[in-house]
Symmetry: C2
Subunit: 421 residues, 2 copies
């Protein structure tokens, strides 16, 4: 059993922060047993790790990130989607046939997630089975949680990133056999790149794989208007983009998360709701690629689950704290255009990044009883130069802070030290 | 004479970066004499300060920042404009009647500008003459350039921030007498807070002051729709918000910079053009306060001058590098809505932040001959983990970097060391 003392801040519900000044969190076998302002009698006398005047908050979850685009982070942002894919994204992903290169880059990627306090992530790898194994092993080695998807694609893709359906299924089966153990922090996820890069046969086979092994699914949905038109052309019998996934068993038949959903509305929104598909909202990516502004307020009103994603390298910033800021800002632009859609408050956006996103991994993202103890200790003394209130200290950390203030990181109860690069 | 060697990057024009790998910049009496890829014969043998594999770029200019709102940076972002002003902004500014408090906070503020590589700024202080002197002296002590405005306001303001016209003019005259020396890096600027907080008598008197001493002017313009409606009510004879300033001699009769201009269009835009009024574009503030998205592309097309401002504490981030990113992102949202308005490229936004903004201070923001040597040395080795090209190194620094990579700062040729707090 471990007992930690600090100023505890988390969001059991979106409407407000739960703040326990000089509170205690009791953790056993990686699971939160309870949070207290005074330690219960039966625990008094137990050793306490006292973090002093620091904040203890849930760790961050990155719900959509392309690990092999790590090298391209923050470059070629002046390009539009197609030339960017063809000149940067695809050539870079092709390099991951080289496992040495993959290991070098993936080590840095995992270290960067760690640096930014992201303890769980939902990753796209590449089509390469061996490189995907390397990434999964690096997450295991680090002790950080991840769903990692070998990417599947067999049309409208460069030759170096095209595979046969049989190869894709065989590789997925290998990874499933090796990694799909219940309770493991690092697990496979079925990952068609998106409808345009997978033939109906591929989609069908992937849907069957998801069903057979009861595996989760991730992909891209309704990111930009040209893409949506393209999908409508490729899948003329589908009622919308989401419906195209649904027909292949890839839209909520098992737990599903879809990145972007910028243009999701009407019937597609209904479908997400009915099939409990989660949105990975990627605000910086949607800005950088001129995709548009996803209406998160509408998703919340409709009860659709939402998490935040960095979407490296469409997004340029791996910090989910910065995604919180951007998510609020985008919602404010929408509020500015339509006052009937209140903007996201700080506690709502924090809840989205932690407890709401965390449910994709199980009981993650809160300090309520039974939750995995995924936590960050924030030493904000540089930012707290004038005796700010606890809510303002958290707000200043989110808006102004960076990795320098994160002094401890925990994933499922275990302190995670800096991964080797 | 000083000769510096590094990878030199700057924007003599918006369309593209000028990049000189392992180039030299020659500086005499704080002024750039020339930039060379090979040192001219007559200079060979002169001592060279070699920055090695680092980038040398123009320093940043913050064209709109409220120095006394430094304490409020990154707090209360969930509030809308009016409660935010009344609960946070005005009470905080009132504290600056206390010169001890002012000095403590202003020291931190100047240090933070320094930390982020901002060597010139255009600041709002408060109505308090003594505190404004403190801020001006701190800039002088640091060696950093600034226009600092004692703020003037005498209506629709809390009592603690209301002054008489006579007092305002007397205080301004004092500051002018003390600081208005030609060639000084720190100079006064006439600063009506905005039309709603100044009576016609105040505006008239300030306009006369600007004309008499040929002083520049700063204020707020067309930030949000309610404000614009309020101004129309208060100034029924003005054709638009800008015209209201113009009638009082505060809109281009002397060099003028107006913050925000989110809703400036049509006749007001024409007026800005005709009177050569510069826009201080504050993208984070406009997002955080749900103000809207200023159409910078239109300003550029029309030949209206633009610079970038952090607008602390409506904005939360003092880094002008981050304002470059946000300015691009906002322009991409507008491009998304109207494809006839190309988004800002990186070189355009960099040019706006440096050479375009810098013209408000004289010849600042470029390394062309005759420009003040305002520069930053960027040590990006942590970001340059895989041998990126120079343009990508700069792009990665702007998108991913922070103050940790700024290893030297120069203002008008002088190396600026960390200001004391």
């Amino acid at each position: 059993m471990n007992i930690y003392k600090a100023h505890i801040v988390f969001t059991p519900q979106p409407q407000r922060f739960e703040i326990i000044e000089n509170g205690y969190v009791v953790v056993e076998n990686g699971i939160v047993q309870g949070v207290y302002s005074t330690l219960p009698k039966e625990l008094s006398g137990m050793p306490v790790v006292d973090f002093g005047d620091r904040l203890l908050i849930p760790a961050m979850n990155d719900m959509h990130v392309h690990a092999p685009q790590f090298r391209n982070q923050g470059i070629a942002m002046d390009l539009e989607l197609l030339p960017w894919l063809n000149s940067y994204t695809f050539p870079e992903e092709s390099r991951y046939s080289d496992t040495k290169y993959a290991e070098r880059m993936y080590r840095r990627f995992v270290r960067e997630l760690w640096r930014h306090g992201t303890m769980r992530s939902v990753c796209f790898a590449t089509i390469h089975c061996e490189s995907t194994r390397i990434l999964m092993n690096l997450f295991k080695e680090a002790g950080m949680g991840a769903f990692v998807g070998k990417v599947d694609m067999n049309r409208n893709s460069p030759e170096s990133l095209t595979e046969t359906v049989a190869d894709a299924i065989r590789d997925n089966e290998c990874l499933i056999a090796e990694y799909n153990s219940p309770g493991s922090l690092v697990r496979p996820i079925i990952t068609p790149r998106f409808i345009p890069s997978c033939t109906p046969e591929m989609l069908q086979a992937l849907g069957e794989l998801a069903r057979r092994y009861q595996l989760p699914v991730q992909s891209h949905l309704s990111e930009n208007c040209d893409e949506i038109a393209w999908v409508a052309e490729l899948e003329p019998e589908s009622r919308n983009y989401g419906d195209a996934y649904l027909r292949y068993g890839l839209f909520g038949q098992t737990p599903t998360i879809m990145a972007h959903c910028v243009w999701t509305a009407g019937e597609e929104l209904e479908l997400m709701k009915r099939h409990d598909v989660m949105v990975a909202h990627c605000p910086t990516s949607n800005l950088n690629l001129s995709s548009g502004m996803a209406t998160i307020r509408t998703f919340l009103n409709e009860g659709v689950k939402v998490g935040l994603g960095s979407d490296i390298s469409g997004g340029h910033d791996l910090s989910i704290f910065k995604m919180i800021v951007y998510a609020i800002q985008i919602s404010k632009m929408q509020y500015c255009q339509d006052k009937s859609k209140p903007f996201l408050t700080l506690s709502e956006a924090f809840w989205i990044a932690t407890k709401s996103a965390g449910q994709f991994f199980g009981k993650v993202g809160s300090f309520e009883e039974g939750y995995d103890f995924d936590a960050l200790v924030i030493d904000d003394k540089e930012l707290n130069h004038d005796n700010y209130s606890l809510p303002h200290r958290l707000e200043r950390y989110i808006y102004l802070g960076d990795d320098r203030q994160i002094v401890h990181r925990f994933c499922k109860g275990k302190e995670i030290t800096e991964p080797e690069v």
